[in-house]
């Protein structure tokens, strides 16, 4: 068994190493800019290089553990981590994860019958449907907010608080105050959201995609605190995942180290982008990346339906569906990262160019003002 597992670790030459570093770099940019999303790109990317699914997931979770540690440390220094909120969500999310694992295991065991259905097709279909439904809702809601705020002439452009407002009105005691996030949330709603977040993270495997919007839209947490708290949460979930997978012998340390080479540079650039790019722009880019990922998943669904004999088309077509699905996944990741990099580069140049204070002296009795000095570096 162990001899076989070692054989599943790919040979890494310079070309493979560079590709893994690039995957890490793109994942890091996305992760730093939108607060989550590295996993959705890096895991399938590694699988594309011939890494086994479980080893890709395990190496990525281990990578996420260290990354979350560095990221949450930085966020904590900026006062963006609500440890109390993270503790509550962590406890309830673990229950949600257990529910997700139980459902996935049941569906996985149920596949692979004598009629030709591939093992795991049921679980894959279920995961894809949940992924497409939830992330579409998140992306559409973000886009609608942006369009609405433009229509209202509301320059503030903060996230919609409709769900948070509705839940606040329900007023279900006990209500817990979270001082860093500066918000009050009913314990019941917290538990419900924690379980739902854990369930979705366990089902889809991308916790940040759910955790960050849930904190912003459901709890009314400021965006920066939601991102910082989610990273703090990911630190513990990542540590647990890394420990478990390493015990099973699934973690390829070499892949994890190569991912770091790219991702930690990418994260710095992504986080820098958040500081210098308009918040509205961040949300447009995030929602478009998510929508492309959703589309990539939707394209793969007919394959699972065919494997479950719910749809009838030639098996050769699977290749085209899979390649199209991969194309959209990579288009979202690479396209998103390029757009972010371009914007970051533009803002970086602008920031270096513009350093000025204009001094204007008011002359009594004159309606016009006269600029007497403008400094520029």
């Amino acid at each position: 068994m162990h001899e076989l597992l070692t054989m599943h670790f790919i040979d890494i030459n310079l070309a493979t190493a560079l590709q893994v570093v690039l995957l890490g770099f793109i994942g890091g940019i996305l992760s730093g800019f939108i607060g989550s999303g590295g996993a959705f790109f890096m895991t399938p990317g590694m699988m594309n290089l011939g890494v086994d699914g479980v080893i890709a997931v395990a190496s990525n979770i281990t990578h996420k553990f260290g990354k979350a540690m560095v990221g949450s440390r930085k966020h904590a220094a900026a006062g963006n981590v609500d440890k109390k909120l993270a503790a509550y969500v962590l406890v309830t999310a673990i229950i949600g994860i257990q529910i997700a694992v139980a459902i996935n295991s049941y569906l996985f065991k149920g596949g692979g019958d004598s009629h030709g259905a591939a093992k795991g097709a049921g679980a894959n279909l279920y995961i894809s449907l949940v992924f497409a439904t939830i992330l579409s809702a998140v992306a559409v809601s973000m886009l609608r907010d942006i369009l609405k705020s433009r229509g209202n002439g509301d320059g503030g452009g903060g996230p919609s608080m409709k769900i948070a407002e509705y839940l606040n009105r329900l007023h279900l005691p006990p209500v817990i105050h979270f001082p860093v996030a500066d918000t009050k949330v009913s314990l019941w709603i917290l538990m419900l959201v924690g379980i739902a977040t854990g369930y979705l993270a366990g089902t889809i495997g991308v916790g940040g995609f759910i955790g960050v919007p849930a904190m912003i839209y459901v709890f009314g947490v400021p965006t920066a605190v939601a991102t910082g708290t989610e990273l703090f949460l990911a630190l513990f979930m990542g540590a647990f995942g890394a420990l478990s997978y390493a015990y099973q012998g699934f973690v390829d340390l070499r892949l994890t180290m190569l991912l770091y080479l790219g991702s930690l540079v990418g994260i710095h650039l992504g986080v820098y982008g958040v500081k210098v790019v308009n918040e509205k722009y961040i949300r447009v880019v995030t929602s478009l990346i998510i929508l492309l990922c959703v589309f990539s998943r939707i394209v793969a669904i007919p394959v699972y339906l065919r494997q479950l004999s719910l749809l009838d088309f030639p098996a050769d077509w699977d290749y085209y569906f899979n390649i199209t699905s991969k194309f959209f996944l990579f288009a979202s990741g690479i396209g998103g990262a390029l757009v972010i990099l371009l914007k970051v580069f533009h803002a970086y140049r602008q920031r270096r160019r513009v350093q000025k204070t204009m001094l204007v002296v008011q002359r009594p009795g004159l309606s016009q003002v006269e600029a007497v000095r403008a400094s520029r570096n």
Partner: protein, 506 residues
């Protein structure tokens, strides 16, 4: 000139106390309700703001601009009243308005709950049960309002000069005490408090103009005023603002100079004495240029030390607890154009001048006191990317100075919700110097070694992670991973962070 600001919850007697005081003194009364009506007429959506805060108190980001506009309107109206003479204001958070004006008398009031219920039931034609529920909900909403608008807890008694419980004292007697207190020297205008009033008035006027003018109303601006100089910082993505802001503020009464700085954010620098040639200045300027930030100077004069003369009955009675007062001569906003004045401003103007030359000026203030005074002064100024506590408590020894500076930094961090550091941490945290260069080289060497070992011994690594060795010592691999991975992440994270600092990306 007396300014009495009375605060209480609904139906707790604030209006009656204001009227009783007015009968004794003939001072005019202004209520929050009057000002809110005027604000509505001026086009400020106070109802929308109230509803949003009550429904979802977490939405600070979206409400920031409306909140600023509302506060600027109230501040402007109250400053105008104060310039006309004595007045009494009553409202739900009157004690938190006109921040920093030391001669205002902040009066708090509470009444027994059963009295409030009875009064509310009569006023609103409700049953007592309904009135009780109504009051409970209303008190909670007011608490949210105060927390969101002023960032303090409604039950924080530190914000008051005097607090009455109407269960223990009658309204008339309370009015008598307030009247007598308002006559005390502590609540009389001083040159410093009058200057503060002028600055507050000018900044609120400027904020209002900018918020209501269609050329500037959508921009995220930070506005300060000091001695007739209005400083506005505006975001770089709208360069036209640099031209529009002076036009909007043209002929603003009391404004003799406008400083417009293009900046993405602000750094607040708190220090006792400023010096443009100091290391602190160079480091903060370097950081501001890298972040595209404006530097706001806040000169903090610590309150006088506990110096009392046993021979002097006055100082013995005060035992050093007298109200701190800044040594600022009041010139009515008119400054001498002459070359050098004898006035010691702690190097503030020279430093500001240097910041203007470098294009990073974000305004200046002088205050006297501790954490509360700093917060009063800067809480309405939006979010800061960083607060730097520079050289403080200069009259103290090194150890005491270090300890008290750190204590000050901690208490500001807790309440301002912004990153706060001391100047000696600045270099290590944000700048690149010799120490950082040594760290970069050392960590890089360690990383090269680690990567070299792993990638030149791939078969051994595979064996350790999931081969025969792993089969016998599963926990060894797991525990190794838990320590090794964070170490790699920390080393490489530090290296990338420092390398990006060199090219000014952080």
């Amino acid at each position: 000139m007396a300014i009495v600001m009375i605060s209480s919850l609904y139906q707790s007697g604030r209006e009656e106390l204001a009227q009783a005081l007015a009968r004794k003194t003939n001072w005019p009364v202004v209520s929050r309700e009057d000002l809110v009506d005027q604000a509505r007429v001026a086009g400020i959506k106070v109802g929308r703001l109230e509803l949003s805060i009550i429904k979802s108190p977490g939405m600070h980001e979206k409400l920031a601009r409306e909140k600023e506009l509302y506060l600027a309107f109230l501040t402007n109206a109250l400053c105008e009243k104060a310039r006309q003479g004595d007045f009494i204001y009553h409202g739900r958070a009157g004690h938190l308005l006109l921040p920093g004006i030391s001669h205002r008398l902040r009066v708090g009031l509470t009444a027994p709950q059963e009295v409030r219920i009875k009064r509310a039931a009569q006023m609103l034609h409700m049953t007592p049960e309904k009135a009780e529920n109504y009051l409970l909900q209303l008190d909670e909403d007011v608490g949210r309002w105060i927390h969101t608008i002023h960032r303090v807890d409604k039950s924080d008694l530190n914000q008051f000069d005097v607090f009455f419980n109407l269960e223990n004292i009658g309204l008339s007697n309370a009015a008598g005490i307030v009247c007598a207190m308002a006559e005390l020297p502590d609540f009389q205008p001083t040159p410093a408090s009058m200057k503060m009033l002028d600055d507050l008035h000018l900044s609120s006027q400027a904020k209002l103009r900018l918020a209501l003018d269609e050329r500037t109303q959508r921009a995220d601006l930070q506005v300060q005023a000091d001695s007739g100089v209005v400083t506005v910082t505006y975001p770089p993505h709208d360069e036209a603002l640099g031209r529009d802001i002076p036009l909007v503020l043209a002929d603003l009464s009391g404004c003799r100079e406008i400083q417009c700085t293009m900046a993405e954010t602000n750094i607040l620098w708190v220090q006792e004495r400023f010096e443009p040639k100091s290391d602190n200045f160079q480091q903060i300027l370097q950081l501001a240029q890298r972040w595209g930030a404006a530097v706001e100077l806040l000169r903090l004069v610590p309150p006088g030390e506990l110096q009392f003369d046993p021979e002097d009955p006055g100082t013995v009675a005060d035992s050093g607890f007298s109200r701190p007062e800044c040594p600022v001569p009041y010139d009515g906003g008119v400054e001498d154009d002459g070359p050098a004045t004898a006035e010691d401003d702690g190097g503030l103007r020279l430093t500001e001048e240097e910041l203007v030359n470098r294009g990073r000026c974000g305004g200046r203030h002088t205050i006297c006191g501790g954490t509360d005074k700093i917060l009063e002064q800067v809480q309405g100024n939006g979010r800061y990317a960083l607060v730097v506590i520079g050289d403080m408590f200069l009259s103290k020894g090194h150890s005491t100075r270090t300890r008290r500076t750190r204590e000050l930094a901690l208490s500001i961090r807790d309440r301002l919700k912004a990153p706060v550091i001391t100047a000696d941490e600045l270099k290590a945290r944000f700048l690149f110097g010799k120490r950082q260069a040594v760290t970069l080289v050392g960590f890089l060497a360690l990383l090269v070694l680690m990567f070299g070992v792993v990638f030149t011994h791939q078969e051994a690594v595979k064996n350790f992670l999931s081969g025969p060795f792993h089969q016998h010592y599963k926990w060894v691999a797991s525990v190794f991973m838990i320590f090794f991975i964070p170490l790699i992440a920390y080393l490489y994270g530090t290296v990338t962070g420092l390398a990006l600092k060199i090219i000014n990306i952080d």
